[in-house]
């Protein structure tokens, strides 16, 4: 299978896209969730859908510091596919429906190959994979508002964030038409990054030392959620507050688990 995942030797350096989420800037407005749903043609909920069977590639969590009134504080954590370099979901998929694109470093989910065994969902520690428990149905007429760059998925397959693959293709086509092989930094950004009103999300090529994100990643307040699992996510989080770091990550080995609510 691995021929598919190897780049032909073209001596070209390919970007490795990643994202930084600044938890100190996020205000929990939820715009990214909606923009993501619109961009990627996620269907609206059926009446009996719950918070465990929905389809929210970009999911907002409200994470508490665990202290009761009046000392409660909370932080909003946008959670989406962490685009792991050591990809737990890729290794487990029996029919190659998950691929790590060597051109971009993006973990792609190919719905046409997926037969819905959901093994990848069990493998993902970030709960960022979503199964289509229902047929994708839009209210009558509203299917006209679907993004033409992204096919709606069928029932019974798994899907997840792919850093707005449709946008990457669009940007590439545009660059190609101008005779360029490489994309400019601002040319391709996912929908959530574009819409974030507090600029809490930064997207870019981690391997390009000149990029904004590469500088951000050097910040000492940067961390990866569940980084110790060794899945090597390409999504980083940032906070200067220690309680946030403790509530969001498991960087401190504690005997007593602080209870937190989603």
């Amino acid at each position: 299978m691995n021929n598919r995942n190897k780049v032909t030797q073209d001596n070209q350096k390919h970007p490795r896209y990643g994202m930084v989420v600044d938890l100190d800037k996020c205000t929990g407005c939820g715009t990214c969730s909606l923009a993501c749903a619109v961009e990627n043609n996620q269907q609206p909920a059926t009446p009996d859908m719950t918070n465990r069977t929905g389809n929210t590639w970009m999911r907002m969590y409200k994470v508490h510091n665990g202290k009761p009134f009046p000392d409660s504080r909370a932080v909003f954590v946008p959670m989406f596919c962490q685009q792991c370099d050591d990809t737990p979901c890729l290794y487990v998929c029996p029919q190659n429906a998950v691929e790590l694109d060597p051109m971009t470093g993006i973990v792609a989910q190919i719905p046409e190959r997926c037969f819905g065994c959901r093994y990848c969902m069990a493998a993902c520690p970030y709960e960022s994979r979503y199964f289509n428990w229902w047929d994708p149905v839009w209210p009558e007429g509203m299917e006209k508002t679907l993004n033409p760059d992204v096919s709606p998925r069928m029932r019974g397959v798994v899907e997840k964030c792919n850093f707005c693959h449709g946008r990457w293709q669009r940007a590439r086509a545009k660059a190609a038409s101008e005779g360029r092989r490489e994309l400019r930094e601002d040319e391709y950004i996912p929908a959530c990054v574009e819409c974030c009103p507090t600029e809490a999300l930064t997207f870019g090529n981690l391997d390009d030392p000149k990029s904004k994100i590469a500088k951000l990643v050097d910040d000492p307040n940067i961390f990866k959620i569940l980084g110790r699992l060794g899945t090597k996510p390409k999504v980083y989080y940032r906070t200067t507050r220690s309680w946030v770091r403790n509530a969001v990550d498991r960087n401190i080995y504690s005997e007593t688990k602080e209870t937190v609510h989603g």
Partner: protein, 410 residues
């Protein structure tokens, strides 16, 4: 007609009574088929599985019955390869049970996946790294082996035996039986192992993730061990149960004891390795990624008791019962040991599937619980009903227990 089909030299209940006894099972089968229609037509939203509980009752059930069905390949291995001829008296029954367990598991899997029509993609373009691809290959091939093993039993039917060409065919099949048993054992070894490996490789789930031993995660070997330990116990139990229900003596007691002994020895070995594995996991593997025992056993109802229960009460205890010759000789102890052994492997599969998924891995996720819907339960019961019906017919018309005739005439 019915009379003519029944195995020569044994008696079976009246046909009418037989059918009456099967009616409840046919009803269960019918309800299950309707539930299956609902799932195929409207999708898996008819289950209570969700994005976190990606696996539910069905996968647990699959893992459990495949473990218990291991008796089929293991008895075959003992009989044909290790020439333990005392198991000739249960091999036919074991093959039928194996066939039921595996075909039932595959039926449940077909409902469980979102797009069953695409399941063959795995065979066509597999991901060699995936434990599930390995499971799919071994499972489908081993089911074929079991079907081939089933055929000679069917051909031993009084009526079918009268066809000369069938007789020849059966004879020929018999010659390849040791080969099939060997192949079956190999396949089984790999799929039991890869079912365990499926969870042991999940480096994203510290509760399931295990150290690697010879390429495979430790659960690979533990699953094989626990399956072959519980398999004979399950054969023992079913044989005893069938004998109780039919009111016939089917095998001599020493066969059952011998099954129990093998179970016991293997259980002790299993418990030994399982304990080492648990200790390594709790003290090395899991803490290395930031998860303490409290993170795994700090959520009610899954306290540390569940691990103790699995290893001591449902592992060590039945093991000790079954290796003790005196205890083994008494039917009640023999059965207790076998029941505990089977319960132990069932609990192990439960912990592996359900507890893994209910525990939060994300620091801010919740502990979740899951209850199956009626559709899930109905399909689960349907598979059981299918097993009961298929076994009942096999028992009625096929010589599942060759010893029965002599025991009957005695």
């Amino acid at each position: 007609m019915d009379k003519k089909l029944i195995v020569r030299g044994v008696t079976r209940m009246e046909f009418k009574k037989f059918i009456t006894y099967l009616i409840p099972w046919f009803i269960l089968l019918g309800i299950g088929l309707y539930a299956m229609y609902l799932v195929f037509r409207y999708g898996l939203n008819h289950t209570n599985m969700d994005n976190r509980f990606a696996f539910g009752l069905w996968i647990y059930f699959d893992l459990a019955i495949i473990a218990l069905g291991a008796g089929a390949f293991f008895t075959g291995l003992l009989l044909y390869v290790f020439k333990r001829h005392e198991f000739k008296s249960v091999i036919n029954s074991a093959v039928v049970i194996g066939f039921i367990c595996y075909s039932g598991a595959i039926a449940a899997l077909v409902v469980d996946v979102g797009q069953p029509l695409r399941a063959w993609f795995t065979l066509y373009r597999p991901n060699a790294h995936s434990m599930l691809a390995e499971v799919t290959f071994c499972l489908s091939l081993y089911l074929t082996v079991l079907a081939v093993e089933y055929v000679p039993i069917v051909m031993k039917n009084r009526k079918l035996k009268q066809l000369p060409s069938f007789l020849v065919f059966e004879f020929k099949l018999h010659k390849v039986m040791p080969l099939l048993a060997g192949v079956g054992a190999l396949l089984s070894f790999f799929h039991q192992g890869s079912l365990g490996g499926m969870f042991g490789v999940l480096n994203g789930q510290p509760f399931a993730f295990r150290e690697t031993v010879l390429v495979f995660p430790s659960t690979f070997f533990l699953f094989v061990l626990s399956a072959i330990a519980a398999g004979p116990s399950f054969i023992l139990l079913t044989t005893w149960l069938v004998s109780k229900i039919s009111g016939k003596r089917l095998v001599t007691k020493d066969v059952l004891m011998s099954l129990g002994k093998i179970s016991g020895i293997l259980l002790i070995i299993y418990v030994f390795f399982k304990s080492i594995d648990s200790l390594v996991w709790l003290n090395k593997t899991s803490p290395a990624v930031g998860f303490s025992a409290a993170d795994h056993y700090g959520f009610a109802p899954f306290g540390i008791w569940i691990l103790s229960l699995e290893i001591i009460l449902l592992g060590l205890v039945p093991g000790l019962i079954l290796i003790n010759k005196k205890l083994r000789a008494r039917t009640s102890w023999l059965l207790t040991g076998a029941v505990l052994a089977c319960a132990g492997v069932a609990l192990n599969r439960f912990v592996t599937t359900i507890q893994t998924l209910s525990l939060p891995t994300l620091p801010f996720a919740d502990f979740l619980t899951y209850t199956p819907t009626w559709e899930e339960t109905a399909i689960f019961l349907m598979v059981i009903a299918y097993g009961v019906i298929l076994y009942s017919f096999s028992f009625r018309y096929l010589p599942l227990f060759p010893q029965e005739r002599e025991l009957h005439t005695k």
